[in-house]
Amino acid sequence: MKAGVGAPGRAQIPERTFRTDGWRVYPLTTGAILIFFILYATVRIFMNQWYWAPEEHYLTPLYSPCLSTSCVPGSSHFGQPMGEIPAFLPMAFITFVILAGFRGTCYYYRKAGYRSLFMAPAACAVPEPHKKYTGESKFPLVILNAHRYFFYGALVFACINIYDAVLSFHGKDGGIGMGVGTVIILINVAMLLAYTLSCHACRHIVGGRLKNFSKHPLRYRYWTFVSKLNVRHGQFAMISLVTVILTDAYIMAVAAGWITDLRIFN
């Protein structure tokens, strides 16, 4: 018995798809971006260095907050409650779990990932190669329902990133100053905030779960606000992915001394 579109009773059409448009573009480009990020992040978190530019006070979001005694001096904005991190663990593993977890369970990235990496399906009305499919109804994918917990985590991390951004206004003489890095960090924080707040779980929590908006006028306003952002959630997801990589790469380059941060003032 043939499965899928070839199932008995359906119109017998040997061609998989008659689509003539560029349906391959989305899975290919999205897949390439996702794979690049995964590779970059993996390499980067095992580096365990070049995450803090001491003169400029830039901390990369991939290592923030730095909570262990292994952290280089100055990079621990919230103390070092964690003690020594064993060598086999990347020192930024908590940050990584939350950030990767938030993106990995995100409703937009799920679409992006399923389409580009798993081809389930690669594009609409294009048959997928899998024999069986149970989607997110069974373990392990049912875990994706924990998205809201990663959202809470991401919200905390977004606040930490804001704090880091404030600290990045550090002048070379100790007062207030600003470099290109500061601008990059600010843009990144804005994008991260937009991405985090436009999250579907956030939309549900602030008001979506209500049956009667009219009894909760304030939450209705939040919900309306988040709903507006939510329409662009996918865009924010991809933009913030790029800004995180750029921010990290810039700070790494400054910290490693490959480039010098261009100062706007002080």
């Binding site: 499965a3 409703y107 609409c124």
Partner: protein
């Protein structure tokens, strides 16, 4: 103004069939359904096609044009070049009856399995009070014209015949969302959405939204909010604990 267009139209029934070539006149301002009608009137009088209103309001003329699920009456010929060969096939998720007509009874069966609107008992005729902002979410879903393009494009059943039993499809998961967001409905269908109607099968790849001729944001506004409601009920220990402790609403029944 007018040119000869090349068409491939699938003709056949549940036992056999194939694409047939046609060359047919195309005039300015026409839609694909006009061409199918011209074929009926001039070249293939028994070419079967289902249609009603020809204005995108009834959702009868669903088919696949160049591989994309679309309404025949809402696909303008001007989106194609004059040289292009246009392929028209029946929906490929449902059993074919003849030519472009498919048997969509799966959908009517699934519609019956969704517990209906359950009105509050204490309200009489004319006593319903609902604020516009409270009905707006459900109203969006009620724009649905039941063309079943979303059902047809959803890979859960398109590519896996065996899932038809446990999966109701975007149309009826959206129907559940509509009722759950209805300000006066008293029934609770949240658990059923996951356990009986297969919401968990949905992997939010958004093809239903992409093909919806009414531009309903099925995934963002119906399916994901339902997934979040299911998560509240089934997968979120804190919400569960909160409900146990504070006995909020009727949730403690479950």
């Amino acid at each position: 103004m007018s040119y000869k267009g090349n068409f491939k139209v699938w003709r056949g029934d549940d036992t056999s069939g194939g694409l047939e070539d046609f060359v047919v006149e195309v005039n300015e301002g026409e839609v694909v359904l006009d061409i199918i009608h011209r074929l009926q009137a001039t070249q293939a009088p028994d070419l079967a096609v289902r249609w009603n209103c020809k204005a995108g309001k009834c959702g009868s003329c669903s088919a696949e044009i160049n591989g994309m699920p679309r309404l025949l009456c809402m696909t303008r010929m001007s989106v194609f070049t004059e040289q292009e060969t246009i392929t028209v096939t029946p929906l490929r998720t449902f059993p074919v009856v003849r030519d472009l007509v498919t048997d969509v009874s799966y959908n009517y069966q699934k519609a019956r399995e969704v517990p209906s609107f359950t009105p509050p008992e204490n309200l009489g005729l004319g006593e319903y009070r609902m604020k516009q902002r409270d009905v707006e979410r459900s109203q969006e879903f009620r724009k649905c014209i039941e063309c079943f393009l979303c059902q047809n494009t959803c890979h859960v059943i398109r590519d896996h015949e065996e899932n038809k039993e446990s999966f109701s499809g975007p149309r009826f998961l959206m129907r559940i969302a509509e009722l759950e967001m209805h300000p006066l409905d008293t029934e609770d269908r949240t658990r059923d959405a996951q356990d009986e109607h297969g919401l968990g099968y949905c992997n939010i790849t958004k093809c239903c939204t992409e093909v919806c001729p009414e531009h309903i944001k099925i995934t963002d506004n119906a399916l994901i909010p339902m997934k979040e409601r299911v998560a509240d009920r089934k997968y979120d220990p804190i919400v569960w604990l909160g409900n146990q402790l504070f006995r909020r609403g009727s949730h403690n029944k479950h």
